[in-house]
Symmetry: none
Subunit: 419 residues, 2 copies
């Protein structure tokens, strides 16, 4: 099965928004062993959409169209697909009813143009909408298929996982393809992509020879470098066994050469890693943030069950808040001493067992004679009060984001060091 | 001139990296009045690249190919273009010399495979490399043209600006085309895409008739709906004049039918809108966040010059922090009264002129008998203390994100109401 992705929207061509959908879908297809040889972007124009869809169907077996399913005049994916299928659009009463109910439940009038979203090409199957108002479509074209999903990532991903991926895999099985691909991601923080590649160079050669598992390095922006292992097995259990064995080997190599840089597996975030350690000890956390302005705190509350261990945060952006609320000594506020006093202040004000604090210079100008990128992280655990100094690269948002994950990583390591 | 962008690289199809090149190029082309109707991604495979290039040449006048010009085995753009041109590749001695010098100047041996980068399709013009080792190419195909540039953004952008854009504009002039495209975005919060479309339906028809300006609606996730006006003028000034006139008309329609929902223009964010109003009055802001866990605060510190008006935040995630630090009355913490007391507490603890607070239920479970999505926003400005109740849709992260922008929007409106 060769699956082509067509992202629809003039805003993509004009560069006004980034096409994150094709990237996400590409990753999902690859992880499930489905080939994708081409992607396209096309604008909200009927003739060009029809041309793009025909081009895709000529060179691929399945087509995922993202976007153009909304309620406005420029949402014309339905009509373009109907032309490809050579069928009329028909209004689906059940969809009309669902959209109407959705507006009623929010106590809002339904604008009449929402009914456009209930138009379905004859012969297509509806993917019912769970997160927005636009349903998706499964449209057979000869022995090929067009899937249409909304361009909103939140709606698209849910429909892909719930309906399109199972449908694609079912078609694969019907074609006699039976092997299963599985992958596992080891998430690292603190090493470079080339450093990881060098550490694993010998193992890479051994894997190439064995052909049962492959390795790839993904730089995931501010979240560190992901090491992805991908195995092909006769069935899911077989693939998992191969991954389990390889993970042990790769972990051992990374840890022995680069230290304790693996903080999580698959979807586990740095805040998940910290939360797990705090919950194991029954401890609570209080934060004091200056540089990061609440970024660490907003990461913490995204962990399910955060109220069990997360007390809160004092964002002491103004120096007076550091002095008056956190009782930091008056003087330079970008220093190791200030970071430690902030951690103690957070623990006292918020009534937590552990305090974590960050202060620094986001730039572009220096502060307290420190250049941009200078960051101090302080923590207070029991009788231990300590700090670390970092030099982080990048512009303001990058220094902040790196600072947030670095602070959580330092706390992770400090908690592990207690054992 | 219709310009198609083809980004080459299997890593794009696998979703391992984002295609920022197409977005950047799309923006540059639009800003210079050059049409782009299609983008493609294709992997490092000779047959598929040839197919993608032929497809592009059939429907566009010029083609910008990004990537596949490096020194490794999978860099095969040169060969694919040579096949399209039906000419051989010839090694260019001047390029060989430049690459050799580049390695010498870095005191490094030149690996032999770098010579591949000196291969040029017969009849193509070289775009000399200034930032990397791979030169670009200008390849005539009949009366059309293929430009090839490296996939590294830093190298690609320089070659585009120095050579490709002037060449494209020269071709436009030769064709007698001189118009310029410009666009403007009005950012709204609080209306649905369909509601906006319905409000502007009559104007949409008038615009279609006039053909000088078009309108589009972009749902930008948690940041509301963008209304984009795009005008074609005889020159930049003419296009801007058309946009200025249309903006007045569209603002009037939106405001009269849907209220004060336009909070910014182009890149202006909701926090920019709030910051502008606070700076105008010389006021400072202090926050208290429960539900959003620091999200509003981290948005505020992203505004350049935030230290002039932003004092900080108390993230009172645990109820005890609300009672002990913010002096909220003990009892239910998801209520209008709690939100108002939090706003007063934030103002007192952080020493600010204005206090803004948010509390609510992110879900999945109810709290204080309130269902998930129930949110209270409180604010304290001078002697005025007030609150609003919201019902927000979605899962935990979405309720939080909607809550953050909603709270800022309520403060924006409250500040405007003072006048």
């Amino acid at each position: 099965m060769r699956v082509e992705i067509v992202a629809v929207g003039t805003e993509l061509l004009l560069g006004q928004i980034a096409d994150t959908n094709s990237q996400w879908l590409g990753e999902q297809l690859a992880a499930n062993g489905l080939a994708s040889h081409f992607h396209q972007h096309v604008g909200d124009n009927h003739e060009r959409m029809v041309l793009a869809f025909r081009t895709a169907l000529a060179r691929s077996d399945a087509l995922i169209v993202c976007g153009g399913l909304g309620p406005t005049q420029d949402d014309i994916t339905r009509a373009a697909i109907a032309e490809i299928m050579n069928v009329p659009l028909e209004r689906d009463d059940a969809i009309v009813e669902r959209i109407r109910e959705m507006f009623n439940s929010r106590q809002r009038e339904m604008p009449a143009n929402n009914l456009l979203q209930a138009d379905v090409p004859r012969g297509a199957t509806v993917i019912d909408q769970r997160r927005g108002t636009a349903p998706g479509l499964i449209c057979p074209v000869g022995n090929k298929v067009i899937y249409a999903v909304p361009g909103v990532p939140y709606e698209m991903t849910e429909m892909f996982e719930r309906t399109i991926l199972p449908d694609l895999l079912e078609r694969e099985r019907a074609n006699g393809e039976t092997s299963v691909i599985a992958s596992r991601v080891l998430k690292t923080w603190g090493a470079s992509e080339s450093g990881l590649a060098e550490a694993l160079a010998d193992r890479f050669v051994e894997m190439e020879a064995s052909e049962s598992v492959t390795i790839a390095f993904l730089a995931s922006g501010i979240e560190g470098i992901k090491v992805r292992l991908t195995a092909r097995g006769q069935n899911a259990e077989d693939a998992r066994r191969i991954l389990d064995e390889e993970e042990v080997v790769v972990r051992e190599i990374i840890t022995s050469k680069l230290g304790d840089i693996i903080f999580g597996t698959d979807d586990e975030t740095m805040e998940d890693a910290v939360a797990r350690r705090l919950r194991e000890r029954g401890w609570t956390l209080g934060l004091a943030e200056s540089l990061t302005g609440g970024l660490i705190s907003s990461r913490c509350v995204n962990v399910v069950g955060a109220s069990q261990w997360f007390r809160g945060c004092v964002v002491s952006y103004a120096s007076e808040v550091k002095f008056n609320v956190l009782e930091v000594d008056e003087g330079p506020v970008v220093s190791g001493q200030a970071a430690e006093q902030m951690a103690l202040g957070a623990r006292r004000v918020l009534g937590s067992d552990v305090g974590l604090a960050i202060t620094g210079v986001a730039g572009p100008d220096p502060q307290d004679d420190q250049p941009p990128g200078t960051v101090f992280v302080g923590w207070a655990i029991g009788d231990t009060v300590s700090h670390a100094q970092l030099r982080l690269p990048g512009d303001r948002p990058r220094v902040r984001s790196y600072g947030a994950i670095s602070a959580l990583d330092l706390l992770r390591r400090a908690l592990d060091a207690l054992d």
